[in-house]
Symmetry: D2
Subunit: 356 residues, 4 copies
């Protein structure tokens, strides 16, 4: 069962609420004798960390990760690796409004319907703060994958603004505050998001994640297909509403001729001449880049009042003041990378188990 | 682990190859004392069954399902339900070409890379024939869900042709050979697909599945979210390349104002005034219709020769003659419905387990 | 979840009732390119098959196993292997008595309490007939383990009669109808069991299973310990009530000095000078023989009337006539071997996954 | 997968090493709206805590448990409950000897063979310190079971000394330092263990755990049988070598007549007149007391030198000085109770899921 765990052989379990004492995770099944230190995990957390530019929430937390177990003298021991981040910025705030009212687009209503109780402070368990542990786990997953595999992503759309794929430059991703691989688009994003932010509004985003260097053969059909696991992993990210592999939804518009990734020999090896498949056929990696795209909805917390109801069944309005990301899609980039890395690490071990 | 199983409490394991003696499944965890007979499963299989119109493959198999266990005197006993369909149309065919050549878009290359061996007859395990067992399991899942929940789907796009949502009529779905909910679009599909078929080509499709009557509260965050499980289930369907929940990929284009599903009271109950969320918030059902859309790529087997390589590393071409669906999206409709039903049945039991 | 499945990477799911159309299993995760045929599975089934001597039930079924999937041209393909045995001896019998009465020692009462319904024909799902599929799966597991690992067992106790460990001779096991490794004890068993059988009574038994050649390092602490998995596997066998690893229950009587398996070097390798541990320390194999013992209770179906109640709450008596094993412990020997093989095969793959 | 997790719906994952910063666990699937506080968990930890009498190790740690998540305003929220105990008594000790030498009976050799690395400080992950988290989880499990179910255990054997079942008195269990239900035996244990301790030796023990008030119907055959899960759970406890359900290994000695638990009606309800079955038939609870017994071997750390080898392949001796339990069986009593409670809580939820 997997309420709060994912993966099978590289298995991650997370815990913690936005405003509880700590958030954390347990990573089970990690191979032994792998170098690992907090210093290797922290940089990924710093990428996701809020408050780094005016384009993300101003919640200020160092998000310092601590390894509690599973590492001895700088090496993994094969026992569960537990990581923890203490919550330091639990601003003493007045929660009376969100305690009573269901914020549209948030999980307030559904958590209440499911559990009959909810930790309303900062969204509790449903807060995107949980994704910090995905990023931490993803850093460990990258170590499992090794240097021959690169996982990286970028923001390809922000509301009505989209990148030009011709301009794609991986180096550009870390030069702008949006993880945008297109320098021109990044400029547009800046102007556009300033407007959105000033208006107290928010906007959705689209993220594309690539994994290069994945050998052909990973994935476990029929119900452990690599693409199915990736799709589930991406949609499990807060606010994600759609996911695409390769051609994605556009595949519906293609013909058999235009969709076929033809093959030729190159240097004695079979190569594909296109990648409509997104690097996956029959649920198994082809050896090409794995390409996954996902869309996240706009932040639900906005300044404009929205109609809602309260826990007592009264009609009311709600407007959210305070620190919120105008585009959560930005910080979803490192999260998407992390999920890709975790799914691949799991399948690396699964493949090794069955096929040696 | 779940190479060939899915679901946790309503758990389905499938087996079988396209041209082996039989395909089958084992459904574990089904509640006892539920009426169940082969006659209740067969109609769903008949919907998926090939050879029913000129728009699907002409492989002729009765696909008669047999219950091998788990049912006694017309009732489920709580023990595993095994269903089997014997393969009768194993046309003695010359497989020498696909034995040697990797068909672009098919899983030939990846199965070979993963396992070092493949049953090339009709695609073996990677054949869409496996989806018959999903449909059979889905029929059982519908019984678990009961009469208050309705799961139904339709074909919303075929290549360049799309339905007009204004015309949506559930009754229309079973009046045309495409499961299309728009009578006008169905007419267009007919003309369009005739051309495609005559040209020996194929085309992709988009399927939308709705579940009505699902109570608020189903879904198990963070890693058993209802939408994440649905996304994984849909992408696990052969040829699926993209999946959307509610607004889907379009969510990236929205603002916080346009995305919010506002709430009001109606007859003393909270209701939503729109359904951008597709009936799921925070991974938990809201009580609204659950709306999932997925895209399938065009059938990879086409008459036009495509460049490929063979198992010995020679460059070559391949063109596929013979019986193939010009648009596999059509038969993906009952499959998508079945996956929705299975995921919901699983979550019904998961919710009952934790929350009583 | 695992109502009817066991193992994680070598995963077995069984289905079927004693008097339904068939029993079967699905084995998932089996490595590809392994030779496998029905002829390699059948001999193990023949060992377990009833009606081979006067000391087992006279139910006569050929128990012919059929491979339905996962094998192509004599080799495993990495896809699920489904095995099936059709039930041929469904003697049209009068079940009216056991339909109404709860047989002491049987699962009649508990299945009824759990499910509210039960297939009373021959015990339905709770029948030891299900163990045929364990034996079939065990035959496949042996192939996964390879020739360097030997799994074999023997009957070490029958009621008040016990073997003399000094006489242990593996060759003897297949020379007597009891799988007894002590020729002298086998003679005693013969006389003893004849009496039991003629009296319409039954008697318990103790089985010891050894695995030789298992390398050090298999097992996945803390909750996938090799001994814990073996204990669960053995107790899951019908009628099993106790299980021991190495010294077993006797370990409670030892001191630290007598319990220690001391170590020396031999031919440059560390060796143990005793095996109180039964080949497992900390849940991980030591490289010594793995030794597991389990006890099965006497067959509950006996000629002597026993007090019971019926489904309507009336007090009554029941005596069971007809074909029953006077000592089910005999046929539990091949079943115990099979479970050992399956658990080891699973852990071979689990170890390979994590540790390479 | 379950390297470091157990249970399916009440799922416990533990982490931490004996001498790392902390040990902890994550409990997933716990029903919401259940009162829970640290004060309800601590008393169980105090029972297991070392240093409470001269009969247990003198390691002095307060073992103060802290709830990190899953509880809000004194109630469970349905989200994962994380518990943590910081390790305070990490005595700066000279580990050079056990770093190099494999201690007989310990997991030193096998961890090294499996992982190629081991945290040798205090046994690392293989230390019985991990059982503190089982006890903590068990306290939560008891809350899931509710007041109508009582889980309690006692020490029934210490080396050559055994209790007299006639004297069994549950109240006595907490009056002596051995959790012994027989006051007379407790006196004997005292004298006996003093000798053992003074000799620097150790001795094994046998623990019996009962669960009263469990309704008929829990357990999930065939591979989630209640007794199989209990057997696996008990053998997973450090040093456990044997486990028995009801009659246990003795069942091998019984006849069908003596083994049958006959039934009568009492106050309109079916009752059993004996409990050889230990409260479980066919893997499902009968409604009688569930009775499980397990044996733990003597502490492997003793003063008497034992022959062993070191990591470099040299023959050597080892004698363990310092704080160790002369009979780990004593502190295994609260651990056994905890495992029983956890398994039952899991099966309560599993039963509710399938059977409503």
């Amino acid at each position: 069962m997997s309420h709060n765990s994912f993966g099978h052989l590289f298995r991650v379990t997370t815990f913690g609420e936005s405003h509880g004492p700590a958030i954390g995770c347990v990573i089970d099944g990690c191979p032994p004798e792998m170098n690992l230190s907090e210093a290797e995990i922290q940089p990924y957390l710093d990428q996701r960390r809020p408050g780094q530019s005016s384009y993300t929430t101003q919640r200020m937390e160092p998000d310092t990760v601590k390894i509690l177990s599973g590492v001895f003298e700088g090496q993994t021991t094969g026992t569960p690796i537990s990581l923890m981040i203490e919550n330091t910025d639990q601003r003493s705030k007045d929660y009376s409004e969100i305690k009573e009212k269901f914020r549209p687009g948030h999980a307030d209503f559904t958590y209440m319907k499911k559990y009959g109780i909810r930790d309303y402070r900062g969204g509790g368990r449903s807060s995107a703060r949980e994704t910090a542990m995905r990023v931490a786990a993803g850093a460990v997953a990258r170590k499992v994958l090794g240097d021959s595999i690169t996982v990286r992503g970028g923001l390809t759309r922000m509301g009505s603004k989209q990148i030009n794929y011709v301009n794609w430059d991986w180096d550009e991703v870390h030069r702008n505050p949006f993880f945008c691989p297109d320098a021109e688009a990044a400029e547009q994003f800046k102007i556009y998001l300033d407007e959105i932010r000033k208006a107290g509004s928010s906007v959705g985003g689209e993220i594309e994640v690539h994994a290069s260097g994945v050998p052909a053969g990973w994935g476990a059909p029929i119900y452990g297909k690599l693409d199915a696991d990736l799709a589930g992993a991406m949609i499990s990210i807060n606010a994600a509403k759609g996911v695409e592999i390769g051609a994605g939804m556009t595949a519906a518009c293609l013909t058999g001729e235009t969709n076929a990734d033809e093959m030729r020999m190159k240097d004695g090896k079979p190569v594909f001449m296109s990648n409509k498949a997104g690097g996956i056929l029959g649920g198994i990696s082809t050896g090409q880049d794995i390409v996954v795209r996902f869309a996240v909805k706009p932040t639900s917390s906005i300044l404009t009042p929205r109609q809602t109801v309260d826990v007592n069944g009264n009609e009311t309005d709600i407007a959210t003041k305070g620190r919120h990301d105008p585009c959560v899609g930005i910080r979803a980039v490192p999260v998407g990378e992390a999920m890709m890395a975790c799914v691949l690490a799991d399948h690396k071990l699964r493949h090794r188990a069955q096929c040696g």
